[in-house]
């Protein structure tokens, strides 16, 4: 039990470091509170954006929290992929530059799994393979079509 846990933890931690570097140019790590007996403690996420000291999750800015959470989700996907991912405006806290970086990273992950991403931000829509348009009339939702960005 401890071995299978440690195998998953090491795999996801390696991915997290890799993805956080790609998204935020920084150093990220998953830290076990009790490495000898992982089930006796919890796990925290350490993230250090470029040029800063290690941040407590609570002290991060809205954008930094979103990037850290996305890096964690994508790190899990790398170790144990689900067939599909659905993201609802995960880019709402991000500045234009970070939206682009996340969009590129999603495009990369979308080679091995289906990604359905709701977004209002141009850099995200432009990076997608296709855009499904949604509208409503008199309270009735319908699809306006499927177009290439």
């Amino acid at each position: 039990k401890r071995d299978t846990f440690m195998e998953a933890y090491n795999g996801i931690n390696e991915n997290f470091t890799q993805v956080f570097f790609e998204l935020a140019d920084g150093h990220g790590e998953l830290i076990l509170e009790n490495p000898n007996d992982p089930f006796a403690g919890g796990m925290t996420l350490h993230a250090q954006p470029k040029g800063k000291n290690i941040l407590r999750l609570e002290a991060m800015s809205g954008g930094e929290k979103s990037l850290t959470a996305l890096a964690f989700i994508i790190a899990i996907q790398g170790y144990r992929p689900a067939p599909f991912y659905v993201f609802d405006e995960v880019d709402q806290n991000l500045d234009g530059w970070n939206v682009e970086r996340v969009a590129e990273r999603v495009e990369k992950s979308a080679k091995v799994a289906q990604f359905i991403v709701i977004s209002l931000r141009k850099p995200m829509l432009e990076q997608s393979d296709r855009i499904i348009g949604v509208t409503q009339l008199e309270g009735n939702t319908s699809i306006t079509g499927v177009k290439s960005p």
Partner: protein, 168 residues
């Protein structure tokens, strides 16, 4: 395995029968505020039994039935998801399969049915099938609107560690 099509019938703001095609790779969904984008995700969670009614912005399941306060409210709502399974990721011997859920309003309350290729099944059977394909009931693969900056910040260290437990 991927979502190939979703059909909504009287589900939230889908007042008619609406079919939406989906594809492999990276598909974006966009449209004005209030047009029904998040309702599509609520439909996925509903059909696959991935969450309770609290995350679908409904006080009770029957709030999910289309209601425009003009015409008589329909008696039922249904969402059907067609999966492409040509890679056999799900333990089903077919290139495609359907998972569907219907809720029906009655005088005394409501009924909720799950279907697999048209045959009534239980929520547990749906979870078992999806679990083998890598879709867990907690649904870490679905991030609801507004949750992204809360996911890591709001969880306790133990809750975070438990995510790895489940994956291991």
């Amino acid at each position: 395995m991927f979502i190939k099509e979703i059909e909504f019938v009287n589900f939230k703001s889908f007042g008619k029968r609406v079919k939406i095609p989906f594809y492999e790779g990276f598909t974006a969904i966009s449209g004005p505020n209030g047009s029904g984008k998040s309702n599509i995700i609520d439909g996925i969670l509903f059909a696959l039994g991935l969450s309770g009614s609290k995350t679908m912005r409904a006080e009770k399941l029957t709030d999910l039935i289309f209601n425009d306060a003009k015409s008589k409210q329909p008696e039922f709502a249904q969402v059907t998801i067609t999966f492409d399974n040509s890679d056999r990721k799900a333990p089903v011997e077919a290139d495609e399969f359907e998972i569907s859920r219907k809720i029906k309003q009655t005088k005394s309350g409501y009924y909720s049915y799950f279907y697999f290729n048209g045959k009534a099944v239980s929520l547990t059977e749906v979870h078992e099938l999806l679990g083998k394909a890598g879709v867990t009931p907690e649904g870490y693969n679905v991030v609801m609107q507004g949750d992204i900056s809360q996911i890591t910040a709001k969880m306790s260290p133990t809750e975070r560690r438990k995510i790895i437990d489940e994956i291991a």
